[in-house]
């Protein structure tokens, strides 16, 4: 091997490891949710997402799965089982063996598996301690940290990811949609007295035990935004409760989580205690829809959650065209147009269809 061919080979290898260095792009510098400065030579093109809900946010900002090279096994199963799997069939080839346990539990990274994917950006949780972050930074991987919880943090995540992958227009559009929807709902609720706000109970668990969302949760945020009162406001965060406590709150509306796949609204209607609450008697028990991600936690689709809930809580004040919003925004977010059947699936029409006021979400 001559010196020149060796040099060419080394250069080629260097080019692979440094990414496509020939492409000229401006460096990106921003601050992550932990206040750390993140600097990239150019917008990220090989991204590993360790936090679960945000992989779909990257897909939405990017409009493609091409730049997502690794994600949490549970993100992957959530994508494969729902509509994003139908939109992006190639997502099944994205690596998901990036968790240290080898399985799907926890967020401790498998640094070697991640390094082998040659990512230019690794996104990790920033509120679960240094132990799940240090292995990544010690390995020299560029890491951005995000935190879970409030609407403010949800927006910061979208801004951070949008900046790092170089989609400032898309992120502005998504943020503007949130502002716009919030303003519309607030305008619609103008002058509404507290007595006219239905009490709403969100159950994060209901299949075997009951777990309610109290003050400070994201569910509490959008219940209030949509013109409801959180029935479990006296709780802080997510807490186990008993059926008698639910009876004592006697909520007007019950929202069932979208996480427990076998959980059906009949769980409430058939229960002798829960079935005697105002919510069950007036048929206002709904299971949270599932779109690009479940509508329960914050995501790029949150404005749809808010419109859906505001319509159900105040059918006389709001007349959002949810199906139209889904069609319009899925084209912008994912570049895809869902069919009527797919929208039915997102809104869980087969289960929620019998609930009060759900007829306005049905196809004409």
């Amino acid at each position: 091997m001559s010196l020149s061919t060796l040099r060419a080979a080394l250069l080629a290898a260097g080019a692979v490891f440094a990414g496509a260095s020939a492409v000229q792009a401006d460096p990106v510098t921003t601050t992550d949710l932990n206040g750390r400065t993140v600097t990239l030579d150019k917008p990220a093109e090989r991204i590993v997402m360790i936090p679960i809900p945000s992989s779909s946010t990257v897909i939405a900002l990017d409009g493609t799965t091409d730049h997502l090279v690794g994600m949490h096994p549970l993100s992957k199963s959530a994508i494969e089982e729902a509509i994003l799997g139908e939109f992006f069939p190639d997502a099944k080839d994205i690596a998901s063996d990036i968790i240290a346990s080898g399985g799907s539990s926890g967020f401790s990274p498998n640094v070697e598996a991640i390094a082998a994917l040659r990512p230019d950006l690794v996104v990790q949780w920033g509120h679960q301690g240094e132990d799940i972050v240090a292995p990544l930074t010690n390995a020299g991987l560029t890491t951005a940290l995000i935190q879970y919880g409030t609407e403010e943090k949800a927006r910061d995540i979208i801004k951070l990811l949008g900046t790092l992958i170089g989609k400032p227009e898309k992120l502005d559009e998504i943020i503007a949609w949130r502002d716009d929807t919030t303003a519309k709902i607030e305008a619609g609720l103008e002058g509404l007295s507290d007595e006219d706000k239905p009490s709403v109970l969100y159950l994060l668990r209901a299949q075997t035990e009951l777990r309610a969302s109290g003050t400070g949760s994201y569910n509490d945020f959008y219940i209030n935004l949509a013109g409801g009162k959180n029935a479990a406001a006296e709780l802080q965060g997510l807490k186990p409760v008993n059926a008698e406590q639910v009876a004592a709150w006697n909520p007007d509306v019950i929202l069932l989580n979208g996480f427990e796949s076998e959980l059906d609204v009949s769980r409430i209607y058939d229960d002798p205690i829960l079935g005697a609450t105002n919510a069950a008697i007036s048929k206002r028990v709904y299971k949270m829809p599932i779109g690009g991600y479940r509508w329960d936690p914050p995501s790029q689709e949150s404005p749809l959650t808010w419109q859906w809930l505001a319509t159900l809580l105040h059918p006389d004040l709001f007349d959002f065209d949810i199906r139209g919003e889904i069609t319009g925004w899925y084209a912008k977010l994912y570049g895809q147009t869902p069919t009527a059947e797919q929208i039915d699936g997102i809104l869980r029409v087969s289960m929620n269809g019998g609930g009060a006021n759900y007829d306005r979400f049905l196809a004409d």
């Binding site: 549970l74 346990s101 399985g103 799907s104 539990s105 668990r205 299949q207 075997t208 035990e209 009951l210 777990r211 309610a212 479990a232 006296e234 709780l235 807490k239 186990p240 409760v241 008993n242 059926a243 008698e244 406590q245 009876a247 004592a248 006697n250 996480f259 427990e260 796949s261 076998e262 002798p272 205690i273 005697a276 609450t277």
Partner: protein
Amino acid sequence: MSDTAIHARGQSLPARGSGAVWLAAFGGLLIVAMLVSLGLGRLSIPLPTVAAIVGHLALPVPESWTVLEERVVLLVREPRVLLAALSGAGLAMCGAALQGIFRNPLVSPQILGISPGAAFGGALAILLGHAGVVLIGSSFVFGVAALVTVGLIARIDGRTETATIVLAGIIVGALFSALVSLLQFVADPDSSLPAIVGWLMGSFASATWPRLALAAPAILIGVIGLFFLRFRVNVLSLGDDEARSFGVSVERDRWIFFILVALTTGAVVSVAGVIGWVGLVVPHAARLLVGEDHRILVPASGLLGGAYLVTVDTISRTATAAEIPLSVLTAIIGAPVFAILLRHSWRKEHAR
């Protein structure tokens, strides 16, 4: 460690009369605890209404309450109070019998590996998508398996030292705890994992009549069996050689007790998760009051244990809007009580 046994023999057994008085007192305590618990809850229902709801099943009382109130009292509180009473009685009687048989004040169903074993059995059933009978059966089988393993490890050259039993129990308990962690590790974080975690924490929140009907027979067999065999605890507590000189088949009797204890503990764990401390602390408290005679001590522990767990469960479901896990409360209340008892009995022994 045969201090307890020596004292058992050294101490004159209490007169049967005083034993009966204690049993009546504990029985009264249990009934009061159950009635108070029935009257308390997050849904405030006036006491006369509660009494009327319970009474109208047998007496002609005019109905002046809502459907919801009736359902809460009859379908939520009643089965829950009964299950707590039965579980407390079962666990405490198991503890009293085991402490006598092993002549060791430290043993309890938890230390002998039965609870961790039953916890593994239950977690395995949940992971495989089972509930009800399979869950109870699996808890029971693995509870017995854990106990048998402890027995086999501790039996060296045909002798079973109490210290080796406790150590073997810790070993087997640690093994099954690790296996439970392994199950949690492979469980689906969105469905079976929260179910396993919630169940392991211990709660009567899901008590219903069908659940009570499922668990009650097994617990009752254990409770009744332990009650009728309570005099044999006295014999076994004399030690193997002396018990044999009475013509007792020590090994066989011991196994009968083990099976009764595993049945009771497995059933309790299967419906309410692992509830610590009741089987350890309640027999000690009862022993201080009624003495060492297991003919009195075993039923006294049962009544006191029932009253204790009903009270703790009442606090768990009424203190805050959120359910407080039972094991947390039993330990927070149990640990200081145990510490006081320990100092008390130590001082008494050394004063002699």
